[in-house]
Symmetry: C2
Subunit: 324 residues, 2 copies
């Protein structure tokens, strides 16, 4: 029987666990809520249980897994195996690696969730034909990760790949990070919602007001629906977000000159309506050669990207394909 | 006797050649003008001669050099050993590697000049204590190079590290590359000169008009001199350029999270007056952890950076120091 690996994706709302072969063939999977409001012990218990259940469903046990990796939010102290801070879980300085090791009696690898997702797409998804790849996730926030020559590039603090926090509008609105005009504040799902809420408050879009559940909290998907139905204001909002996304992608292409950019997250649901104008803007702003040499693809792993990313971390990913 | 290496820096105005040990100890050096206006054969002849002369001064010959590398401008087709385009030399598709190999009867390594400079500072200069480093050169233009874990990161087209062509002002002036508001057009020496020329034309700075040789072509150094003498307009120009440089550095720190940024080029001459406010701006715009983990240093190799960079390419650089 093929060796099996365990990959766990710890999210703000759910814990998604997969047991799979090194080739990414899923043999067992299991999901439990994170329920972080019920405390660290509770969430930890769900993590432990979910891996045990996924292993059982794969016809094996945690003890028999060849390797286990966990994709976790927030900055990580990799040497110590500690989650430095994960605001969406209310965690600070949690020694996750040793806690899980004690529970599972098994070595555990920790990786930042965006980096794990990047290695997941690189190994099993839209990036599998490339040597150097940038993963960009456009969702509530905008994040990302670098895989260069088959390895995650973490940078000095493990924070490399923060695509969402490059400045695209120097005097733009204040981002949660303290900077002004970050890509995230200009083009994330949250940005779409904010612009939609402003448009409704100003009485600019009757359609958007009707579509949304709460006019004081318009969602990105409301904007996408209104735009698809032809609402000009919603379409302007999408165009503006796409323009900033394109500015960010253009800078990324000129600076990093990647072979591929893989775009995941909720934005994939809005799809070509957001990505096509963003790519057109990136093309106008980047070197023709660098743009031409960069494949831009939607992510392929969907909801499983974090857990399969953890599997990729556990297996060591794949051997890079020689680049030209 | 220690093995000796040859490094040649092909610039738009001069050819600078060094013969040195693997440790970067210079044993012979020689300089000749490029004189590209006299044609390819002429420039090539000067390249050939300069290496022969530098070797002679080092008490050896080209044939006895352990390895030779050439740092050249413009995009390079590394597989073919061809300079794709070097506008400042008037070159297009020049098979430089085979031309030099034939003349020297010796294998030749080619590298992009910014990448070579990056590896030079990494190996012998301000970056020698770090594992991952970004080199940024602020001069007539703004360029750069990445060294990750001891190796030059070239990207898909050999164009990675183009720090000067990230967008820092989306509606800014048109850059020569076609984009608007590139860091290069906002903060390079050329940008300082352009802003100085505009200030003189508008009659805003008497001091600047007196300092410059040609009021229709104010130079960056004129602006620096006027600023040092207390001219408020020149100081505003420096502040604005520094702000954009800081926006660029901040994005670089958040995105690449390097252990070190080494700043070279003519801007080093303006020095702290430009870099200090740029660093302050970068600090305001980047993650505290990523900023705190990034050393920002002036380059140390001066005029020799390209030739010593080529030596580093010839020797393979240095073994990376384990990062935390």
């Amino acid at each position: 029987m093929a060796e099996l690996y365990g990959g766990l994706d710890l999210g703000g709302t759910k814990i998604y666990t997969i047991v799979a072969t090194a080739g990414g063939e899923v043999r067992g999977e299991f999901e439990l809520p994170s329920e972080a409001d019920r405390g660290l012990e509770h969430t930890l218990g769900h993590m432990v249980e979910s891996m045990e259940e996924a292993a059982k469903r794969a016809g094996t046990s945690v003890a028999e897994l060849a390797a286990i990796a966990v994709a976790a939010p927030g900055p990580i102290d990799f040497k110590a195996g500690v989650i430095t801070a994960a605001p969406n879980l209310g965690w600070e300085k949690v020694p996750l690696r040793s806690l899980l090791k004690r529970a599972w009696h098994h070595e555990v690898l920790l990786e930042n969730d965006a980096n794990a997702a990047a290695l997941g797409e690189y190994t099993y998804g839209a990036g599998r034909a490339f040597c150097d790849m940038v993963y960009v996730t456009v969702s509530t926030g905008i994040g990302g990760g670098f895989v260069f020559d088959g390895r995650i590039y973490r940078g000095a603090s493990g924070a490399a790949g923060e695509v969402g926090h490059i400045t695209v509008e120097p005097n733009g609105p204040r981002c949660f990070c303290g900077n002004r005009g970050c890509l995230e504040i200009m083009a994330s799902g949250t940005a779409l919602g904010r612009l939609g809420t402003e448009a409704v408050a100003a009485g600019h879009s009757e359609m958007l007001r009707e579509i949304c559940d709460d006019p004081a909290d318009v969602k990105a998907r409301d904007v996408a629906i209104a735009a698809a139905r032809g609402d000009p204001v919603a379409n302007e909002i999408l165009d503006e977000a796409a323009r900033y996304l394109g500015i960010g992608l253009g800078s990324l292409i000129n600076l990093v000159n990647p072979e591929a950019i893989v775009v995941g997250g909720g934005a994939s649901k809005i799809g070509d309506r957001l990505l096509d104008p963003a790519i057109a803007e990136a093309k106008r702003r980047s070197f023709p050669q660098s743009f031409g040499d960069c494949a831009i693809r939607f992510a392929e792993l969907g909801e499983r990207v974090g857990a399969l990313g953890a599997i990729a971390v556990a297996t060591g990913g794949r051997t890079p394909i020689a680049s030209s």
